[in-house]
Structures are given as structure tokens and as C-alpha cells.
């Protein structure tokens, strides 16, 4: 009996901790093509920005593998998967057999088929090695173009600003963070970026990358050319399903899992950004590529692999993103839709924006800019499917809290485990 986990980030760690809740001894093997001790991918922007040093890029303590009886096989790619033989073939020729397998291979950056894409000084923004390479060219006063104004692109922009790099960020859509922001929020973010000297170009695309061996600029849709010293591509992430493509494991965009994180093949589980799991808001399977989801899916997979019965069916998109001096949090629904009522509060003077999405008397999503304190109460209202009709007008008010809730509900939540 053994457990094998392919992947070494958040979902993998969640799985180890989930397995060890129930099974303290059976060996676990972790396989990863990256040579590093487990680290969280989103930390790369903080590394690039100089806020986190490489020695602090760890998700769990240095003795994590030893303490959990994990054999890490790092820097070696899992090349092929044979689910009939229950075997993983490694790049170096080794064959690893498993009793229970978890696939937690995460996502991989989308690379557009652009002319000139193979030039030097064009980087993805996904792994530690990416920022180690970017670091070499991101000198003070250098010029960068970041393609993509969503989460990871904006975190790249922030890090570059902190390094004193002159940045232009480009997006094909008419807004910053188009999946989360409306026009007002987008304009707030744009103003902040511009205040820090960032040039924001929306509704445009890169036609080709120019330069000799090294990228020296881009040609935009309107025919204008923009010079730069390097380019970061942050145009989105796809599920990294390379390993399972030619197996019987069901995939759509990601690996399809049930709410125990099982795939359709017995003893094969999947968790994290590589999956399409149940989305509580959308009530169907979707990609939910965020850390809290990766951890919980991993933990759930681990517990079930170890023979427990654990269900996770509350996953949905939520994000917190400080961007320069803005604080932004959002969860759940982020666009208008049928049956959805929207409540907005905008205090231009204080630079505070709040938006709530309400459906059938339940909170189904929200966006908060700057006044983000106690946001988790809203997240919990979504998860609990609380009928908010008796206090809907108080959402987003200063001082909103449990005091705004009906007494019975407040006591129910606050006295769980206490006495009333």
C-alpha cells in the first residue's frame, strides 16, 4: 500500500495533511518536475517585488516531508500514466507503482501563437523559475510590457513597479480584471496604476513581437509599435492535463472530479487547478483555480484516499488582491444575470466601492474595494445560503457585522460550541 501524489504545491500539501488525519504511516510519494521544496505559486510576485526571499518561499516547514513520511521526488517529470498497471513512468525511466494516486499538476500558462514568441526576454508568470529569470532583466528604469490585466498580470505589474521598472499593461478587453470588475472598479484600479506610472492600454492586442534575437517591442493592433526590454505574458492559465490526455480519465478543460475528488477511474483522484470540480455558486463542475479551493480539494482527496468519507461541495471563486495601495476582495457571482439584484455603494472621496449580488434573497457574490474588513462574514453568508431579506439594506454599511443579523441567526452562528 502506498500513496502517490503528482504535484507539490497547495493541493498536494492539502492531500498529505488529509491522508495523515486518518493514516499516520503508509508511505506517500510526491513527484514534481520543479526541484523546489513545496511553495505556493502566488508568492512569485512577492519574490519579484522583493518582499519574500527565496529562503522564505516555502508553504510548509522544511521538515514537512520527513515529518509526514513523504518521499519527495523533485525535479523529475512524471512522463506517462498507466492506470491499468497503476504505474507512473518518470522522465528518468523510473516506474512508480501506486495504490492510490492523486493528480495535482496545477495549471499551465496559455501561450499564444504569436509571431516572434520564441524570442528571448519573453516570460511566463507562473513558476519560481519564471521570476528568477525575470529578475535578471527587470532592472530599475528598464521597460516592460505585461500582456493581460487580470490577477496574475496585475501582480506582475505591481512587482515590477516595486522594482522601479517602467510598465505598460495591455488587455484585449475594455476593463481591468474583466471577470471581476465592472467599469467603476476598473477605473479605480486604472487610476491607481497610472498614479504609480503604469501605462494601461485596453481594447488592444499584440499582433507580433518585434526584435532580433531578443524581444525589443510589440506591434499593436492599431499598427503602433511599443518598445520594451522584456515582455511578461499573463494571458491566462489552462489546466495542466498533459499527463492524462491519453488515458481513460474523463477530462473536459480539466479533470472531472466528483465531490470526493475521485475521477472516473478507480483509485485515481485529482485536486486543485487541474480539475473541474463542483462549483457551489454555479451548481455545476467548473475550474476553480484559487488556493483555498486547491487546499480543500487536496485535503478532501487525501481523506478519501485514506478511507474516510469526506465531501467538499462548497467551492467557488473568491480572491483577495492587494494592488499597490488598493485592497480588493471578491467572491462568487461577479456579473449581472437573470434574477440577480445588485446593490452598489460608491464613496468616491474615500475611494471605497462595494457591490453585492443578491438572488432569491440570498447573497451570491460581492466585490469590495478598500473597505474589505470583515469580508469573510459575507463569504460565510454565501456559503450558508442565509436568507438576507431582513437585513439586506445593511449590507455594506459601516459597522456591518453580526450585530446587523437577526438575533436568532446571530446567536446560532456566534454561540456554536458555546452556550446561549
Amino acid at each position: 500500500m502506498n500513496y502517490v501524489i503528482i504535484g507539490n504545491s497547495v493541493a498536494a500539501v492539502g492531500a498529505v495533511e488529509g491522508i495523515r488525519k486518518h493514516d499516520k504511516t503508509t508511505p506517500i510519494v510526491i513527484i514534481s518536475d520543479e526541484p523546489y521544496h513545496t511553495y505556493p505559486r502566488p508568492l512569485i510576485s512577492y519574490y519579484l517585488g522583493g518582499k519574500v526571499k527565496e529562503e522564505n518561499m516555502y508553504y510548509r516547514n522544511r521538515d514537512f516531508y520527513r515529518a509526514n513520511n513523504v518521499e519527495p521526488i523533485l525535479g523529475v517529470k512524471a512522463q506517462r500514466l498507466d492506470v491499468d498497471k497503476k504505474e507512473v513512468l518518470l522522465q528518468d525511466g523510473r516506474r512508480i507503482n501506486y495504490s492510490k494516486l492523486l493528480i495535482a499538476t496545477g495549471g499551465k500558462p496559455l501561450i499564444p501563437p504569436l509571431e516572434g514568441i520564441d524570442k528571448q526576454n519573453i516570460f511566463n508568470f507562473s513558476k519560481l523559475d519564471d521570476v528568477k529569470n525575470i529578475e535578471k532583466v527587470a532592472e530599475k528604469g528598464s521597460r516592460a510590457i505585461v500582456v493581460g490585466a487580470s490577477f496574475s498580470g496585475l501582480k506582475a505589474v505591481e512587482a515590477l513597479v516595486e522594482r522601479g521598472v517602467r510598465v505598460t499593461v495591455i488587455d484585449i478587453l475594455d476593463r481591468i480584471m474583466p471577470r471581476v470588475f465592472d467599469e467603476t472598479a476598473s477605473q479605480m484600479a486604472q487610476k491607481t496604476l497610472e498614479k504609480y506610472g503604469v501605462e494601461v492600454l485596453l481594447e488592444t492586442t499584440v499582433q507580433k513581437i518585434v526584435g532580433n534575437k531578443t524581444a525589443s517591442g510589440v506591434l499593436l493592433k492599431d499598427g503602433s509599435e511599443l518598445a520594451c526590454d522584456f515582455i511578461i505574458l499573463a494571458m491566462g492559465v489552462r489546466c495542466n492535463i498533459d499527463l492524462v490526455k491519453d488515458t481513460k480519465i474523463n477530462i473536459n478543460r480539466g479533470i472531472i472530479v466528483d465531490n470526493k475528488m475521485r475521477t472516473n477511474v478507480s483509485d485515481v483522484y485529482a485536486a486543485g487547478d487541474v480539475t473541474e470540480g463542483f462549483n457551489f455558486i454555479e451548481q455545476r463542475n467548473t475550474e476553480i483555480p484559487i488556493i483555498p479551493n486547491a487546499y480543500k480539494q487536496g485535503e478532501t482527496a487525501g481523506e478519501n484516499m485514506a478511507g474516510a468519507e469526506k465531501i467538499f461541495d462548497r467551492g467557488f471563486i473568491m480572491n483577495s488582491m492587494p494592488l499597490l495601495d488598493l485592497s480588493i476582495v471578491s467572491a462568487g457571482v461577479s456579473a449581472p444575470g437573470e434574477g440577480i439584484n445588485i446593490k452598489t455603494i460608491y464613496d468616491q472621496e474615500k475611494s471605497v466601492y462595494k457591490k453585492f449580488y443578491i438572488k432569491n434573497n440570498e447573497l451570491v457574490g460581492y466585490l469590495l474595494i478598500n473597505d474589505i474588513d470583515r469580508a469573510g462574514i459575507y463569504t460565510d453568508l454565501i456559503k450558508r445560503k442565509v436568507d438576507i431579506s431582513s437585513f439586506e439594506e445593511k449590507l455594506g454599511e459601516d459597522g456591518f457585522g453580526f450585530i446587523s443579523l437577526p438575533k436568532v441567526l446571530r446567536k446560532h452562528i456566534l454561540l456554536e460550541g458555546g452556550f446561549s
Binding site: 492539502g14 495533511e17 495523515r20 488525519k21 499516520k24 505556493p40 502566488p42 508568492l43 512577492y46 518582499k51 519574500v52 522564505n56 516555502y58 508553504y59 510548509r60 515529518a67 509526514n68 488556493i291 483555498p292 487546499y295 480543500k296 485535503e299 473568491m318 480572491n319 483577495s320 488582491m321 492587494p322 485592497s327 476582495v329 467572491a331 474589505i372 474588513d373 470583515r374 469580508a375 469573510g376 462574514i377 463569504t379 460565510d380 456559503k383 459597522g399 457585522g401 453580526f402 450585530i403 446587523s404 452562528i413 456566534l414 454561540l415 460550541g417 458555546g418 452556550f419
Partner: protein, 157 residues
């Protein structure tokens, strides 16, 4: 090794019926976490920058009550933390934020169902929360100093 099985569990609860909203819990919490440890006078007279209170007092007169970290068995903040700074100490049964590793991404604030993790911009951007006064090895200062016994500890094992 096992992050979520707690050896002991201590939680602070409030009796909203007897809370008078005096906010002494905040004052004593600030002092307990200041460099003058529990010395109210020195904390408030000598420190230009005082720590944030780690207790939230909700108030809408005549109702008020204090609220602090519940040190959950299944802590959302720990599972959501993007750096691994937020951890559950199984032995002590408390959730602690390692401020050396915290980068102030506020994902814990996004996920804490009680809304009791605060942004602390005082020293650097880190998340601040109740530590049950564990470092001081005393009864939590808020509970000890509540004049109306509106805060109480519920311990179980």
C-alpha cells in the same frame, strides 16, 4: 504533523445581554500585546504606535458584544492562506499567524467567517488576530478584565 486535530480547545464567547460596551477588553488587549505587557498607563502614555486590538467590539446601542478568533477546528484562514503563515498549532489548539511570513494578501480576511482578522499596517502589512494571550501564558486579558463578566472561556478536550 496533524494540523487540525486539536489536543485542547479553548474559545472565548460573549454574553451580549450583559456586555455594556465599555471596550475595556480592547484596551487590555492592546496593552497585553504591547511592549509594556499589561501596563495600561505606559502602553497608552508612552507608545506613539500601539498594537491593534485583536478583539472586535460590535455595537449598536443598547446592544454590544466582543468577538475574537474562534481558533476553529477546520480553520478557513489556515486552509486559504497563500503563504503558509497562518497555521494551527495542534498542541496549543490555537491558530497563529507567523508575521515573518505573512505578506498581507488578506485572503484570511476574505475567508474568516467571524470577521476577526484585521489588517495591521503598523509595523508592516500583516494580518493581526487573537492569540488567546498564549505568549503571555495567562488568562486572556479581555476575559480577565471584563468588568461585567460578559466574556467567558469555554474549554473542552
Amino acid at each position: 504533523m496533524d494540523n487540525f486535530n486539536t489536543a485542547s480547545r479553548k474559545r472565548i464567547y460573549a454574553k451580549e445581554e450583559v456586555c455594556v460596551g465599555c471596550r475595556l477588553c480592547e484596551i487590555y488587549c492592546i496593552a497585553a500585546h504591547s511592549e509594556y505587557r499589561h501596563d495600561l498607563i505606559k502602553t497608552f502614555k508612552k507608545l506613539p504606535k500601539r498594537p491593534l486590538p485583536r478583539i472586535v467590539v460590535e455595537e449598536d446601542r443598547p446592544l454590544s458584544f466582543g468577538l475574537q478568533c474562534r481558533h476553529c477546528d477546520e480553520p478557513e484562514c489556515v486552509k486559504a492562506c497563500i503563504t503558509g503563515a497562518m497555521q494551527k498549532d495542534a498542541q496549543a489548539g490555537i491558530v497563529i499567524n507567523d508575521i515573518e511570513r505573512c505578506i498581507g494578501c488578506w485572503t484570511c480576511i476574505l475567508t474568516c467567517p467571524y470577521g476577526v482578522i484585521m489588517r495591521d499596517y503598523n509595523s508592516k502589512k500583516v494580518a493581526s488576530k487573537c492569540d488567546l494571550c498564549i505568549e503571555n501564558d495567562i488568562e486572556p486579558a479581555c476575559v480577565k478584565n471584563c468588568p461585567n463578566e460578559a466574556l467567558y472561556i469555554n474549554a473542552s478536550s
